[in-house]
């Protein structure tokens, strides 16, 4: 296998056995990025010089006797994580020239392990989108078929990992933004329990829903990254005191006795039959390994999308107020007065989808509408949480499709925001509840597009999800398939 196809485990072994150095590995991937990124547009910034310097430093640490599992291994960050000295755009014109004075906790932690940052990854603007088409810097293309979207908002992360530009990447998930692109690009991604991964330095979209996590080519690789990413952070008040854990420890536990729940609500109208069949086959594989399968109800799941599109825009309308043209953002030319400065800077700096959500969020928080929208949505959120609580009294994991369809063509849903929002119909309830969930490849369509299966667990059952996914991946080939780079339009 070539360097760009190796898992994190294999890369560590190669570095350990001195079969290649971090500088060689980094150089090989930088060359691959230079060759393929013009087509994929997954990287917004490639930090070649810094990466080679970091790789040399990692090689020196290894030569000095260190042997960290991630030491010298390349990684890339979704451009939502602040990186000191390297611009952080969040996919927006608003932050086109923003260079953060500080690094996100996640970035710091991975760097401290000696991981080599190759650059920053494309994303939907301010993580608002499900196709990566809202990025100010242009859409990302799906490595399996370049006429298709990679999903979003962590589309650059999923596409880069799928295309072998980087072995693992960070992403964030507010309503499915790790899992949906992971499914559409055929990679493995986990949205940890809310509070596992520090949000400090991760540009906020909807603070009560946002959660960072890894995307990689296997559950084991995700576990390796999560071992470092998950930690209590005193700089994030919502970080959980027991956030840290060893996610590798239970990875190999057999699935005998595992109780799997299958929610009827996830297999109704709108679900692509090929996706349904692949996920069913995935569930059967788990049954074959000794899991018991039963039906569960999540009766409030149908309200998840509407609830989300009240709460997330409400928080976003406030979170994005700091981008006001006064300090580090885009500023309009020659403003007439203060109001003009605000209005034009924000109109010019934000794209249409971001403006739409700010307007919706402002509306639902306004005097006279708050009770009807925001407060009501919070009540429904409690009911959704309650659904999961009841379900997890009966089962250990809940399994369903990650997305209703495989990757769709670029431009297909741009005219219809609601159709786009429905791409996250199975992923959003998880964020509203704050529970962990992951997506892993479970098959392909006849057209050669990857299909994702979603595992959902109770609070802090992240390790169980990784365990189930790992056992599944030991017996199935889906996660090892490499993209075909079908070109042309859909």
């Amino acid at each position: 296998m070539e360097l760009h196809e190796l898992s994190l485990r294999a890369l560590h072994q190669g570095l350990q056995e001195r079969r290649f150095s971090s500088v060689e590995l980094t150089g090989a991937l930088l060359a691959r990025i230079a060759r393929m990124n013009p087509t994929l547009n997954a990287f917004l910034t490639v930090t070649e010089t810094e990466a080679l310097a970091a790789a040399a430093a990692a090689d020196a640490r290894r030569a000095a006797g260190e042997d960290g599992l991630l030491l010298g291994i390349p990684v890339a960050h979704k451009d939502i994580f602040c990186t000191a000295g390297v611009r952080t755009t969040c996919g927006s014109k608003m932050l086109e020239r923003f260079v953060s004075p500080y690094s996100a906790t996640v970035v710091e932690r991975l760097a401290a392990e000696g991981m080599v940052m190759l650059g920053k990854l494309n994303m939907d603007e301010f993580a608002m989108g499900s196709s990566n088409e809202t990025s100010y810097f242009g859409a990302v293309r799906n490595p399996w078929h370049t006429g298709m979207v990679p999903g979003g908002s962590s589309g650059g992360s999923a596409a880069a990992v799928a295309a072998g530009l980087v072995p693992a990447a960070t992403g964030t998930d507010t309503g499915g933004s790790i899992r949906q692109p992971a499914a559409l690009c055929g990679v493995t991604g986990i949205k940890p329990t809310y509070g596992r991964v520090s949000r400090y330095g991760m540009i906020a979209f909807a603070s009560s829903l946002d959660q960072g996590g890894p995307l990689a080519r296997s559950a084991e690789d995700c576990a390796l990254l999560l071992n470092v990413m998950a930690a209590h952070d005193p700089r994030d008040s919502t970080s959980h005191p027991a956030a840290a854990s060893d996610f590798l420890r239970g990875l190999d536990r057999p699935l005998q006795g595992l109780r799997v729940g299958v929610p009827e609500e996830f297999f109704g109208a709108g679900l692509d039959p090929e996706v349904a069949a692949a996920v069913q086959a995935g569930i059967e594989e788990l049954a074959r390994q000794g899991a018991s399968v039963q039906s569960v109800r999540l009766p409030n799941n149908p309200y998840a999308v509407s609830t989300y599109y009240v709460l997330a825009p409400a928080e976003a309308s406030s979170n994005l107020a700091r981008f006001d043209g006064v300090r580090y953002t885009h500023r309009t030319e020659v403003p007439k007065d203060l109001t003009d400065l605000y209005q034009r800077s924000r109109y010019e700096g934000f794209g249409a989808e971001v403006r739409r959500r700010i307007l919706v969020g402002t509306y639902v928080l306004s005097a006279g509408y708050y009770d009807a929208y925001y407060r009501k949505a919070q009540q429904v959120r409690s009911l959704i949480r309650e659904d999961f609580r009841r379900a997890f009294a009966e089962v250990d994991v809940i399994i369903g499709p990650t997305t209703p369809t495989p990757a769709f063509p670029l431009g297909a849903k741009n005219a219809d925001p609601v159709a786009m929002y429905l791409a996250d119909i199975y992923t959003i309830a998880v964020n509203l509840a704050g529970i962990p969930a992951m997506s892993l490849p479970c098959g392909f369509t006849r057209g050669g597009l990857p299909i994702g299966m979603q595992l959902m667990g109770d609070y802090f059952a992240d390790d169980l999800l990784l365990n189930v996914a790992h056992r599944y991946q030991r017996e199935t080939p889906w996660h090892t398939a490499r993209p075909s780079f079908i070109t042309g339009e859909a």
Binding site: A204, D236, S237, T238, A321, R327
Partner: protein, 476 residues
């Protein structure tokens, strides 16, 4: 039929924590612009707030001191509005659930009665930065050093019925926050400022439409602004007009209030719970711990002063206005007459401080020196008049009481022979006045006392001078 004035105050007390409420930056006043800032208080993308627990303890202290309900769970909320010195585009405050609930503050009125004023709530919030319009041409500067400074907003019930009551309430609260050491009370620097809500109504009628006067930063401005605003509203109402609900600013230069914005122009702040902060939970052990650190509160101290030092209510009230002053008095009163000590602290000391424009905290005369000075009056080493001269010296040039007395030869003359010699000299020098006195002009006694005191350079014991003078003058 007259008008009843209804006043409620919203006081912003800057809590004197070492660091800001949601980050570790210093709260020191007067630093180089934007030098006390970090990603959190600059509202850099991705930065998150972490609550300063010291600010919470100070809010608890205030709550306990006004006998308020402390909410076991309170919630931080975002108050959303755009302004350049508000870097996040929202202020973190508390809205539906404040940390401190209903309490009371008792004020003393000039007629000697007391009145209980209700406190509706007190909540924690962060201050904004400052816009600087003077230093730049066609531009404004933004200084975010103050952004994130902890504030406790203390909201009263509309219980006050006159500007005097409002001032009494504000003074009482001002003294209280300084007692509790939760706020430095510096009104010039804006550490303690208030907004006043005022309306008029016919007695017994429902509340009238109110105007809010913003940012009053002295007791005098509060009084003047209220007086102006009451006259303005009375004038409108008596001409049959209506009061517009609005926010007004007090222009101290012109002594008037003027409209800033009407209710229609008011912001819709779109409050909602801040998802970056967990609800603030107060456990009973924490409340008990703060209770254990509370100092003796002003009302209790005042009662004790009246009892322990046999002081009139007025004196006890003045001396307990601040904890430092009360402590000072108690040090002066050790082993000397407590009323004489009170007179000296309230008279000479406060007068000199006031004249020099300095606070008791930085008083140049230590309590021990003043105590010794009072003691020297009591033991007749010096007269009260000489003591005042020595006090002036101590205040302006420093030094030690006894050393000044010795060096300048100010020790009181109590030797009867010496005083008699002086008296005899004066009597001999003024035969006409002696004759007049003996003829019945009693008033001339003052003249003779004055002459003797002058001859002694003020050092003769006045009682002895009196006695000996009368003895000599009445002798035929």
């Amino acid at each position: 039929m007259g008008w009843e004035v209804v006043i409620g105050l919203e006081v912003h007390a800057q809590l004197n924590t070492a660091t800001k409420i949601f980050c570790g930056c210093s709260t020191t006043f007067g630093a180089e612009p934007n030098s006390h800032t970090c990603p959190v208080c600059l509202a850099m993308p991705g930065a998150l707030p972490v609550l300063n627990e010291a600010a919470v303890d100070k809010a608890i202290a205030l709550g306990l001191a006004i006998g308020a309900e402390l909410n076991r769970q309170s919630v931080f909320a975002r108050k959303n509005y755009f302004y350049p010195d508000l870097p996040k585009g929202y202020q973190i405050s508390q809205y539906e659930l404040p940390v401190v609930g209903k309490g009371t503050l008792t004020i003393s009125l000039t007629d000697g009665t007391e009145k209980v004023v209700g406190v509706t709530r007190a909540h924690l919030e962060e201050d904004a930065g400052k816009s600087l319009h003077e230093a730049f041409v066609d531009q404004s500067g933004i200084d975010l050093n103050r952004a994130g400074t902890p504030l406790l907003e203390i909201v009263s019930e509309p219980d006050m019925r006159s500007p005097a009551e409002a001032v009494a309430y504000l003074k009482k609260l001002h003294a209280l926050v300084r007692y509790l050491d939760i706020c430095d009370g510096n009104m010039q620097e804006g550490s303690f400022r208030c907004d006043a809500n005022v309306s008029l109504r016919r007695p017994g009628a429902p509340l009238g439409t109110r105007a809010e006067i913003k940012n009053l930063n002295s007791f005098r401005f509060l009084e003047k602004a209220l007086e102006y605003e009451i006259a303005r509203q009375r004038d409108i109402l008596e001409r049959g007009g209506c009061i517009v609900q609005e926010t007004r600013l007090y222009d101290a230069g012109r002594g008037e209030t003027r409209s800033m914005r009407s209710k229609e122009e008011a912001n819709d702040y779109r409050y909602f719970p801040d998802p970056d902060l967990l609800p603030l939970v107060l456990d009973p052990a924490r409340i008990a711990r703060v209770r254990g650190t509370l100092p003796e509160l002003p009302d209790i101290k005042r009662a004790r002063f009246m009892r322990q030092y046999a002081l009139p209510a007025y004196d006890a009230g003045v001396l307990t206005m601040s904890r430092v002053l009360a402590d000072y008095y108690e040090q002066v009163a050790v082993g000397v007459d407590s009323k004489l000590a009170a007179n000296w602290v309230m008279g000479e000391l406060l007068g000199a401080l006031n004249k020099a424009g300095i606070e008791i905290e930085t008083c140049p005369v230590s309590a021990e020196k003043l105590r010794l000075l009072v003691q020297r009056i009591e033991d007749q080493t010096i007269s009260g008049k000489i003591a005042k001269e020595i006090f002036e010296d101590l205040f302006h040039s420093g030094g030690e009481v006894d050393a000044i007395i010795e060096k300048r030869g100010l020790r009181q003359i109590t030797d009867t022979g010496a005083i008699a010699a002086l008296v005899d000299g004066i009597v001999a020098a003024h035969p006409q006045q002696v004759a007049d006195f003996r003829a019945g002009k009693d008033k001339l006694l003052g003249f003779f006392v004055g002459q003797v005191m002058k001859a002694s350079k003020g050092k003769a014991n006045p009682d002895q001078v009196n006695t000996i003078l009368l003895e000599r003058l009445r002798k035929e």
